[in-house]
Subunit: 344 residues, 2 copies
DNA sequence: AAACCCTCCGAAACCGTTTTCTGGACGCTA
DNA sequence: TAGCGTCCAGAAAACGGTTTCGGAGGGTTT
């Protein structure tokens, strides 16, 4: 158990440019120029300054630099999803896009609470972030933040205002890709078990799936999407129903990896071969859900990292004076695994 | 698809105190005093200033404030775990402890790369964070960052330097609690299937479990811990082995929720009643892994949020001049669910 | 020796805010 | 009416950097 004691043990105060200058025997102006590679500094002088800076491990105060330059090199990531399912890949993508260390990210979680969001927004603007990425908790449109003194990019959930810049995963295309993959592996009698119908993601994926089926002159087995909740439990229940009512079914397209896990469990219990008799697919390609499924689950990856990179790129452009408008959709991709293996 | 166009459409520059003062017809000094509730400002004047500030939605520039005050109201969270399993609850706990909006958090992911860590560290120190929380990717000790101009608290993974302040989950106690719970529900022949033996977490939990058994005059069925990997796959394999070699086993304590899922699957396949014949427990209480297990999995919650709050609290104390030293362990708790229900 | 150029350093202004200090206006008392 | 206290507003300094500008010093040319 730690015990507080040496309150007086003075921690070395962060070094300032003045300290460096004093130590090197030059003025602060010269020290600044020497460290920043400006011209008109004698090589010997520069060396002295650099050595002094290293000796006291001087780190320039970004605050002071920012106050002059008018930009801070920081962005705010205002999220509503701290399960981290979407925010974190987006954060990683953004970090990559900015270039490590160039830009630091303030992460704030509003927890889907408008009051808390305003609060964090105020704090971020006060800290003069150069821009904002707003991550929603689902793909339904969310209210715009309105006009702010810094550019904003909405990721995952689009803004209601079409003038804003939003980057969202293409759920319609995801549904299409999934069905095309199933068709390509010889499936014809496809059921679709999805999550909560109130989520745009569920409806969009279903729309894409139906469109792809229609293009092949087919429709869903049972004629309709089986909406429910985003849980394994629902995946199990719905799969039982599907198997009971549609004996000829040869593929179950699940609205999420969790639902797919439920489906796989029931198929295994009933002794139905996957993918021999029935193929199973999920959406999200959530590593932690998928690793361990039997057989390994084919899933549609929504490319969150790419989405984050793209959002960051748009933000950089906007900060640079070239804002974008409207909703941009990010393509996704099918990750094929054993649960739909061709001819298995 | 967004298209860049109105690069010239000037975004409203953030208002400064000077703007407010000009609009209210006072000096910046008076404006500052009026907005900060200082004395010696005439009520009418104050009202004029406040109205002016609201009219142009003035937000004080925290950078300028920080440069005066010498503290920024920001902390850095340097993590190596952006699966977010540990970092995010810790971040949430820290946010809570700081008090919403008081303190903003820079989140950086070093991805277990020392170079990247140094890079982020430099950026954070340059931004004059008031303190740092360093989150490891596992509970093995990690190298200290050494002496920095700001206080540091190590969370999840302790620092190698006992002078540093570290907050870690009490894995030994977790193992003890788990076994005590199993004993309390009448189990006597307990097997322990755990993850990678190279992880301190695995060894500590096992040590706690063995101690609790010894205290009851028992030992592990089979005499030893079955170490492997942190996967469902290993959970399944090891459970088969246990059932084959130890027919009398009445509980399987699993080193993680994932391993426990594997165990549950195998028990179900073999038609063994859980918890009637065999109890199953996991560690971590990872909601997303647990929701959907049949029966619902009893698990030891490591209280990451509390850990994060505690780390934040220690950081605040250290910033306030009362640093703590040494490793502090956080208690954990058993969350009882169906997989160990008494007398079921 | 005067005029000139070049190299290099430092003084000072600036960013946006807070705080201290100075001082003007006004009212009250002696 | 002089003296004093109170109330309120503004000027100025400070924080830690960057940048501009002026100028000192030395060498070269006429």
């Amino acid at each position: 158990m730690p015990a507080g004691d040496d309150a007086t043990a003075s921690r070395p105060r962060a070094a300032t440019l003045r300290d460096v200058a004093l130590l090197a025997g030059v003025s602060v102006a010269t020290a600044s120029k020497a460290l920043n590679g400006r011209d008109n500094v004698h090589p010997d002088t520069r060396r002295r300054v650099v050595e002094a800076a290293e000796r006291i491990s001087f780190t320039p105060n970004s605050l002071a630099q920012a106050i002059l330059a008018g930009s801070t090199g920081t962005v705010g990531l205002l999220t509503n999803d701290l399960e981290g399912r979407f925010s974190l890949p987006i954060l990683m993508g953004a970090e990559d896009a900015f270039g490590a260390g160039q830009m630091s990210v303030f992460l704030c979680d509003a927890r889907d609470d408008a009051i808390r969001e305003q609060y964090h927004l105020k704090a971020l603007l006060g800290r003069r972030v150069d821009g904002l990425i707003v991550v929603g908790s689902n793909t339904d449109p969310r209210p715009t933040l309105g006009t702010l003194p810094v550019p904003v990019v909405y990721a995952y959930a689009p803004s209601t205002d079409p003038q804003d810049c939003s980057i969202v995963p293409d759920n319609v295309h995801a549904g299409t890709l999934a069905v095309e993959h199933l068709l390509a592996t010889g499936r014809r009698r496809i059921a679709h078990v999805s999550g909560d119908v109130r989520y745009a993601a569920a409806r969009d994926r279903a729309a894409g799936a139906k469109a792809a089926l229609a293009a092949a002159g087919l429709e869903l087995v049972g004629g309709q999407v089986r909406y429910g909740s985003w849980s394994e439990e629902w995946g199990r229940a719905a799969t039982h129903t599907v198997l009971d009512h549609e004996p000829g079914v040869d593929a179950i397209l699940c609205g999420s990896d969790q639902i797919a896990r439920g489906a796989l469990d029931v198929l295994r219990e009933r002794g139905i071969d996957v993918p021999g008799a029935v193929s199973v697919m999920g959406f999200d390609n959530w590593e932690v859900m998928i690793s361990g499924t039997r057989p390994p689950l084919t899933s549609v990856d929504m490319n969150f990292e790419t989405l984050g990179r793209r959002a960051a790129q748009h933000l950089v452009d906007a900060i640079g004076g070239s804002p974008a408008h409207g909703v941009e959709t990010m393509p996704c991709r099918v990750v094929v695994r054993g649960s739909t293996a061709r001819g298995a």
